[in-house]
């Protein structure tokens, strides 16, 4: 086998040598394709595995941790919550509409593969600077794609984040998260139960879309000379996915299936190998039986990433019943193989074995690297001159920066209320949905602070986890578990590798402290173009729970005359990275002061106080404090004809970032009780002002209320058009 071909398949020559020594024979081209698919970063985590192993993945409520299609946690009674986040960064840059749409499709399949009905989606999307026409095109396409797929299949989008920053100019990020509800006694795993079980192919026919290195594959191996070289971005069909979802859920609830695995990255290869590995069994598949959209070679069938396809194992006696249900939903179905006892993966095509490999070498012997990494340099302390910064100017810069503005333009393109169980829609502290037919609610949020993490990956990651945590706490949702999406540039650069290693360490520290284990996740590396690496973007998706929907806090002002209190510890101006960045005080990354260490015990203590005050009904409304400080938090809480009047010695502090920061609204008559409760618990707090009608007043200075409110709500759309 020539070197060029090996390298084209993304394997190093050393990796190839390991395979060849193990097998002691030449590989078929199909087998090379399998190793290419299974030994890449996306499938085997060869760079990150060593570090991911350090993460906490278990506690008393974890039913399923990482390693399955999605993680599952226990929310009492017979209810479980399955959730996961996954990236579709590269496809969304090449073809934003289909790239992001299939990202949503893929993550939804991960959820219903486990027997869970999806009940919510979220997304975390990042783009370059909006001044570029390319960014506008990507933003429009990505939002359209996410919306199209989710709206059509009918799963509410309940939140997420959208950021613009120059390092994403040529590497936009699209991370999609899905949350599903499963009955604990009806969870399905990818592990097959019995030898001799039939492997059935369910869903769309297989085509050429998504074959890695499609051009290479088809030039060399296609029997079809008139090949049209379809792009390697998959094309989604949400209608098909809706049918597939209903069909699969019906099969599972009827007890007709033993195990199931979705065909995601690396299609039939990855799904069948996973099944064999999980069950410690073998698989035999006849590729001639695979339903095809067009003539394909065995190699192409193995590597196709056509969407909306599932692999299931059934007992032969259920065959007819399975067929009947799938026919009702108009879904293609074919028996393509069986579970064997020889622990080998065998694919046959035209009566010839094209692949015959031991499962062990594909999965257990997959490479794992301990890449070199550098610790970040120590930062010198630096003072910044705020004397020329005026209050009006800060407000104006905030209201002309996409990252601070109301992003209704994005989420108004998403259906947030389908399924009828949405309690909180996007744009609030966290999204919340009710578990159908109960009073229980699930809250979910996605967050990342890339600037913090570039300054100090370990502390920055703690802040990111804490921000997710606060988003849930502010709603009186008890945080339970995490899914993560680690987006980084090339790990071959020891500086980037250092960011990866340290941020995982920060994630671990925070997750242990908050008792929020990591139950699922995804890694996306090599996000860099023309030597420009993206900022480290390990996105956190956090899920939490409250038994009683009536206990949920509003994130919007309730009544004129109520008092406004600020809780937590403000970061000094010179230690507030986003303030420095967005007021153009720090011009390059080396200028920032190191992050202040985040005290997780303090964070937890304040959170517990907020939860307790919420249950006692002291809190009328609450919001966390993040980028944009107290001022932006207040602006987000503004509702109907309400405004606010605040007093603060140095008004620039209104824009500083916080640790354990919350703004709470309380009734006048509760003020004494609340302040003594907070003092007793040693929680930093001060009364900053009150809710007033149709005015924004800072230290007796009146601002144009309608101007600020209108700009906040409509400038996003004005800027992007």
């Amino acid at each position: 086998m020539n070197e060029e071909l090996i390298l084209q398949h993304g394997l190093t020559l050393d990796e190839f040598k390991i395979i060849k020594n193990y097998l002691n024979r030449d590989l078929t081209i199909e087998e090379l394709g399998i190793f290419s698919a299974m030994w890449n970063e996306h499938c085997c985590y060869k760079t990150s595995k060593k570090w991911l192993k350090k993460l906490p993945t278990e506690n008393e409520i974890v039913i399923q941790g990482p390693g399955e299609n999605a993680g599952i946690i226990d929310i009492q009674d017979n209810d479980g919550i399955a959730f996961k986040i996954e990236s579709h960064n590269h496809p969304s840059y090449i073809e934003p509409f289909n790239g992001s749409a299939t990202g949503v499709g893929g993550i939804l399949r991960d959820i219903f593969t486990m027997g869970a009905r999806p009940i919510a989606t979220l997304d975390s999307i990042r783009f370059g600077l909006i001044e570029s026409e390319k960014t506008k095109y990507l933003l429009n396409g990505v939002v359209h794609g996410i919306g199209h797929y989710g709206n059509c299949i009918g799963i509410p989008n309940i939140g997420g984040e959208c950021e613009f920053e120059s390092t994403y100019d040529f590497n936009n990020l699209v991370n999609a998260m899905a949350v599903g509800h499963v009955q604990k006694d009806k969870i399905f795993y990818s592990k097959p139960k019995s030898i001799g079980g039939l492997i059935v192919y369910i869903g769309s026919k297989t085509g050429k879309d998504g074959i890695h290195g499609a051009s290479m594959a088809s030039d060399v191996f296609s029997e079809d000379d008139e090949d049209d070289k379809r792009p390697s971005v998959q094309v989604g069909d949400p209608f098909m996915e809706k049918l597939l979802m209903e069909g699969c859920l019906e099969l599972m609830s009827s007890g007709l299936i033993e195990s199931m695995q979705d065909m995601g990255a690396a299609g039939i290869t990855s799904s069948s190998v996973e099944m064999a590995s999980k069950g410690n069994v073998g698989v035999f598949i006849n590729l001639d039986k695979v339903p095809l959209r067009q003539p394909l070679s065995a190699y192409e069938i193995l590597l196709s990433e056509s969407q909306e396809r599932m692999l299931a194992v059934i007992d032969e006696k259920n065959n007819l019943k399975v067929k009947e249900i799938l026919q009702k939903w108009q879904i293609d179905y074919e028996i393509i193989g069986e579970i064997t006892n020889n622990k080998r993966v065998v694919f046959e095509s035209n009566n010839k074995k094209v692949v015959d490999l031991p499962v062990d070498i594909i999965v257990d012997d997959a490479p794992e690297y301990d890449r070199e990494f550098y610790m970040p340099r120590k930062r010198k302390g630096k003072d910044f001159d705020f004397s020329n910064i005026k209050l009006e100017d800060i407000i104006n810069t905030l209201l002309s920066n996409l990252n601070y503005l109301d992003k209704s333009w994005v989420f108004n393109q998403y259906d947030s209320t389908v399924m009828g169980d949405t309690v909180k829609e996007p744009g609030q502290s966290s999204g919340i949905v009710k578990i159908h037919g109960t009073q229980k609610v699930i809250g979910a949020t996605t967050d990342c602070n890339p600037l913090y993490i570039r300054i100090n990956p370990y502390e920055g990651m703690k802040y990111t986890v804490a921000e997710s945590y606060r988003n849930l706490i502010a709603c009186n949702i008890n945080p339970l578990a995490i899914t993560n999406n680690l987006n980084f540039a090339s790990p071959l650069d020891p500086n980037i590798m250092g960011e990866l290693v340290l941020s995982i360490d920060g994630l671990k520290t925070a997750a242990v402290k908050f008792n929020t284990p990591i139950v699922s996740g995804n890694v996306s590396l090599y996000n860099q173009t023309n030597e420009i690496p993206i900022k480290p973007t390990p996105v956190i998706g956090m899920v939490g729970f409250n038994q009683d929907l009536k206990k949920i806090n509003s994130n919007k002002f309730c009544n004129i005359g109520n008092k406004i209190l600020v809780l937590g510890k403000q970061l000094e101006k010179k230690f507030s990275p986003y303030l420095l960045q967005d007021q153009n005080l720090a011009s390059n990354i080396n200028e920032y002061n190191d992050l202040e260490e985040l005290d997780l015990d303090y964070e937890k203590k304040i959170a517990n106080c907020v939860l307790e005050m919420s249950d006692l009904k002291y809190i009328m409304s609450c919001n966390d404090i993040s980028r944009g400080g107290v001022f932006l938090s207040l602006l987000k809480m503004q509702y109907k004809d309400m405004g606010f009047k605040v007093n603060i010695p140095d008004p620039i502090n209104l824009f500083c970032e916080y640790s354990a920061g919350y703004v709470i609204e309380i009734r006048n008559e509760d003020l004494d009780n609340v302040t003594s409760f907070l003092s007793k618990n040693a929680v930093g707090h001060f009364e900053i002002g009150e809710i007033i009608k149709e005015n924004i007043v800072i230290n007796s200075k009146k601002f144009d209320y309608f101007d600020i409110i209108n700009n906040y709500h409509s400038n996003f759309e004005n800027i992007i058009n």
């Binding site: 059509c152 009918g154 209704s408 009828g420």
Partner: protein, 226 residues
């Protein structure tokens, strides 16, 4: 006598469960869920064609569903002066069948619109009789093709026959537009001439429970069973 109703499910319907819960919770009567391939409808007082993307809406919204097997009986049901309500995709299906006039074209901003909208009733009928004059209802919309269009003659007759049930309007404290999707005369819902068939783009089944942002969607069922 209890109020009986039915919800039709097409492949790609995604508000069928929502409509079932809406009817179960508010009518307290029996609610059938009917699969589109079934040949006949049981005798009921109200049929809902729910929202969603029937058959993927790949041809034209509602076009494929309008040819489903069950539609013959849906037409018979309506011809017997019983109530028929099409919500969102259901409204689109009703115009495709020809039970309602006009058509629903793409929103004027060419984007999917998923948000709260505000509507008020224009002409009185049995679907909106519990709603006061000038009462503003807050009900979510979620559609890509909700821009109601018809020719001038049809518009005139819709007005003359008092067939316009709901129109979009401005909500208090809301900076949203008066006519969110560009519909002619801001039409949000129309009836047939006999006023036993209503098609509307907003989703009342997402605005009736105590945890929903509004409970104004209740008023439609209350109007029908009062």
């Amino acid at each position: 006598m209890s109020f009986k109703s039915a919800v039709i499910t097409f492949p790609g319907s995604n508000c069928d469960r929502d409509a079932l819960c809406y009817l179960q919770d508010l009518t307290k009567g029996f609610v059938y869920n009917i699969w589109h391939e079934e040949a006949s409808l049981p005798q009921v007082d109200l049929v809902i064609l729910p929202g969603g993307f029937s058959f993927g809406d790949y041809l034209r919204s509602g076009a494929m569903a309008s040819k489903s097997k069950i539609i013959n009986d849906v037409i018979k049901h309506a011809n017997n002066d019983r109530y028929l309500l099409g919500i969102c995709n259901g409204f689109q299906i009703l115009t495709e069948i020809g039970l309602l006039e006009g058509a629903l074209i793409q929103n004027k901003n060419l984007k999917f619109l998923g948000k709260n909208c505000f509507i008020k009733k224009k002409f009185k009928n049995n679907f909106n009789s519990s709603i006061k004059e000038d009462q503003v209802l807050q009900i979510p919309v979620a559609h890509n093709e909700g821009n109601f269009y018809c020719d001038n003659e049809t518009l005139k007759s819709l007005n003359n026959n008092e067939q316009i049930a709901f129109e979009y309007c401005k909500g208090e404290f809301s900076n949203s537009e008066e006519n969110i999707n560009g519909s002619i005369e801001a039409i949000a819902g129309i009836t047939n001439k006999k006023k036993n068939i209503l098609g509307m783009m907003p989703h009342p089944e997402r605005a009736y429970s105590d945890f929903h942002q509004s409970q104004d969607g209740k008023l439609i069922i209350e109007s029908l069973i009062s």
